[in-house]
Symmetry: D2
Subunit: 341 residues, 4 copies
């Protein structure tokens, strides 16, 4: 299986390189980057010890079986038609194919969608929700990091009607690598370290992505409060979700719902009662961990989910999708557990 | 003004020492600790460069004007009567005098209150709410760190009827020093660093303290969801609060309410529109910073407040209370701004 | 290949579990721990998602092919004879078999060596120095973390006579996981974070281990200055070594010496000129990275080496040794590159 | 006393603002910055709560008593003549006046010195070495952060002839704020956090500054090995220094030398035997802490010194110099002890 990567020198691109290196069925034959063309990958990332592979212009994509695109939004959508026509399957780690309605894309990304017709061809690449569709498609919209953690927690309970779709609050916390490798004052070590803040309050672009999928789960529109925060750590996302339960639902029923939904799933784990997820449980791995509590005093359920934003929240999930698309065991190349400590 | 400290070697005790060192009117004459008696303070904290003061048994309190008590709960309440009778004013940094109803104390602290009669004598030491009462009393219940940040954000809006008392969610995040200086697996550097988690979900003892004060603000009982999280940093608390606004309240009205309430307050600051609080703004200082946003899509207001948990959330506020009790300018010894970076 | 682990719940034990999980030839059949016997491993480490394996008393070692011992010093030496007699190969991650002379052990570890006769049977498990001996032996003294980084940097240059054995200074820096999982004030997050210190100055037990191997490299006794420091990070060791070069040696010759010595080595990498090692290059991996500079102003060479203290500095190296002992490809189970970022 | 600051929005400029805010004798009347002119200081630093002061062009310096210059090198030297002629005293936090010989400046800073004649007028602003000269001068070259920590440790012992001037190794470690507020890949949180590295090996510009002062201490030229490292923390410098003692000097004599030299010094503290400095001891304060050990096995003394790089290593020391120049008590505005934890 020949694999190409566009945008290989960003954090998600580099994470694809790291994981694919130990993937038994995939061979990276092409690495493209506009900013680092003609350099060897080891010049950018000296720790990739045996990689003398040359980075090429991102325009010259050869005939690969599958192409990962980790590019600024707008670019993937412009180039997809041509690549698909050549028989190249696409897994896009950006936002171009995630939102079904182009007007929502334009509202939140402040950009006319360059290729709205293609949106029907894409499938939302969250295997725990869309496994069968992923197997059949050639264009995967790999989910955002916050949506992955949020949807894994919420969708089963919403779908089962155990929690109400009104008034949902998602209070999310992410490590700094989620902001990408670009530099600006907000990622300066001295301004992040020993510091914690909310950002993009009421304005984060993952909001409509989450709302779309929650809406699909219940069959009607869902509006949420989503507030992301920046944690002084490199990797990891934790979401704390508050939702009103429907009528007389017990904590046991809520847990059973998750348990049934994720029975047999290799990457989603409901922790034993009383054990709360820590982002480090998923560090460097494709595993997600969940826990919940029903608070009878208020009638709300508190859901907590964690993932590694660069793995299950990006590159690991992309490879999970690749495995599905090519009929491989879903865990190929993704067997590692989290790094502890 | 002669000052004593009981429990001087914990983090809040040590923070009292640090701040009082530059306080022009206070002289520390007595430091008591059960665990470190007969040592010099510089043996415990070598950075307290000129302190050769001897730590004494915590039983032998001399005739000081004011005594700070930073002790495990249960102890302060047992000893208060005797100390007050000797004319010693008490500022307690623990929980013994914070809850007005002993049965609530017993429910959350799993301990029969050792001295329920005394609860009427205590005033809740949040100067921005109870300034006048604090001036007149001899027994101050210094608020918890989470309650300080939560109440400063919520009380004005609740009191003014701008937000609803039902369905309030407080999602709180704290640095590790909030857990105190005691050692256990949960504070091991390698298990906290590069990690983020929720803890004590639905069970944190600051919940009834917040609820009591919110209830007093609206004149009827308030029940909240309160979820604390541990941030891999040493100092700082940020609370993100979600509350439904009442009817047609605008963001401007919400901001005006805060602005009016805190006009002239030396330590509480509403940031300019669009500037969101960071815990580091208050690092090592007694300042609190606030910001909010009204989200018309959901009808909720999102409030964010930050403090330094050891200063405005503990020892700085205790000294602010002392200043009030002794008729000193409220900012005496507390003029420092946050350390940046 | 049946594998057992004694002391499985410490950080090096857990790291063995993590790595062996993806090792194609090894099956863990026994996990022993005195502190956690009769618990399931997932009770201690919830992130080890599919491990329902029961932890057993560390006394009941079954007939495994190889046993990893990660125990406090003194214990492994007492038990080794019996285990070896049963045909069990031993890889000891502690210090009991590292020092050839029992009197040196007693001087630095303040303990009479419980089994001095056995020291001749052990081989020092640094594959880059002792590969052939490791293949033939049943008792491996897995090196300490600081010695691994120090010896990889120094031995080739000393052996080749390019640097002088007198006056060597090793200034070493380690992440906190090197101190193990036990709790005490010195590993409290709030006392390590935003802090840096030297410790055990002139007294660290890895000193004689390094000196012994340097002595073997030059054929006469070597005395060094070794100063370890604690870095506010979880994983990683960096050593900065200062050594006087012999006569008119050029930087090029020093680099060539390393290059020749490590040609073909899968885990030791000389970085390109001007690229200096960062501990993160080896994060979670078995790779070591080296760089040097000759300073003509002083006649000293400055060598810098990095490893992950828990992988190449402990458990990864132990598995590298296991691979050698059982005739497997040396990199089996150890193909991962460092996690970045 | 009217004070101006040029370059007020960098980290050292901002630290001057923080400290001067509590200085009883100084009034800031002018803040200049080329990058932030016409903004209010609170727009750059929202935590400076009561500062509505306008930032001005750095060209328009009014008639202040003393001007702090925190500018890129080359600029201060060009402007000093004009300012001094107007009777304005200058404390320069940059490198323009630190090196007495312009050719050394040119060699290490790759810039022709713009005003070599002025170098004679400047005094090196390390009060513990040059207190009397500082009182008499109008132009202060405030020392670099690494030189401050290194010289405080070494000068007394070298001057007393207790250690040899040949073969000195200074292995230095700094927090990230030492790199300034500018952004680049090397200060991206995700590339610094959980990482440790050496940098500028053999090339750091503080090398000749240290060598010049050591040379003045012994009366002949001194050449050292100086290697800086980047610690994943915001503030703090620790230097570990290795020096051969002269003949039969004992550890006691070395300690006595320090003790005598720093008797009565308000900011330099020799810790009790066995207590090693931690950078956090000086966090946010102007205090330096020292410790040493003589190692008879090698004949070397190991010296360790810590400071806060932004305080004693920059802005605090600048204010200490200002106090001296204006006949104020040396500790005015600098009474704070380190923040712990």
């Amino acid at each position: 299986m020949k694999v190409g990567i566009l945008g290989a020198t960003g954090y998600t691109g580099q994470e694809l390189l790291r994981i694919l290196k130990t993937h038994s069925e995939a061979e990276i034959v092409y690495i493209g980057s506009s900013t680092s063309a003609d350099k060897k990958i080891a010049e950018i990332y000296p720790h990739l010890t045996d990689s003398n592979m040359l980075i090429l212009e991102k325009e010259e994509v050869p005939d690969v079986d599958v192409l990962f695109m980790a590019l600024p939004h707008g670019i993937a959508a412009s180039r997809a038609d041509e690549l698909l026509a050549r028989g190249i399957k696409i897994i896009d780690l950006g936002a171009d194919f995630r939102l079904q309605r182009p007007e929502i894309y334009e509202e939140w990304y402040k950009l006319n969608h360059p290729n709205p017709q293609i949106l029907n061809e894409a499938v939302y690449g969250l295997p725990e929700l869309y496994r069968e569709e992923i197997k059949d498609r050639s264009l995967i919209a790999n989910p955002g990091c916050y949506p992955t953690a949020s949807l894994l927690s919420l969708v089963p309970l919403l779908q089962a009607g155990l929690v109400q779709k009104e008034g949902i609050v998602i209070d999310a916390k992410s490590g700094v690598s989620g902001a990408g490798r670009g530099v600006n004052q907000a990622v300066h070590f001295a301004e992040v370290n020993e510091n914690f803040k909310a950002y993009a309050v009421g304005e984060h672009r993952h909001t409509p992505e989450i709302e779309q999928q929650l809406g699909l789960a219940v069959g009607s529109s869902v509006i949420i409060n989503f507030t992301p925060h920046l944690v002084p750590m490199t990797r990891g996302i934790l979401v704390t979700i508050y939702a009103d339960v429907n009528g007389k639902v017990s904590e046991k029923e809520l847990r059973s719902c998750w348990q049934d939904y994720y029975a047999g799933e290799p990457f989603v784990h409901l922790l034993p009662e009383g054990v709360w997820p820590q982002t480090k449980y998923s560090y460097g791995s494709n595993h997600a961990f969940l826990q919940l509590k029903y608070e009878p005093r208020t009638g709300k359920a508190v859901l907590v989910g964690v993932i590694d934003n660069l793995v299950k929240g990006a590159s690991g999930q992309a490879i999970q999708n690749m495995n599905l698309m090519f009929g491989l065991p879903e865990t190929t190349g993704l067997v590692t557990t989290g790094l502890w400590p």
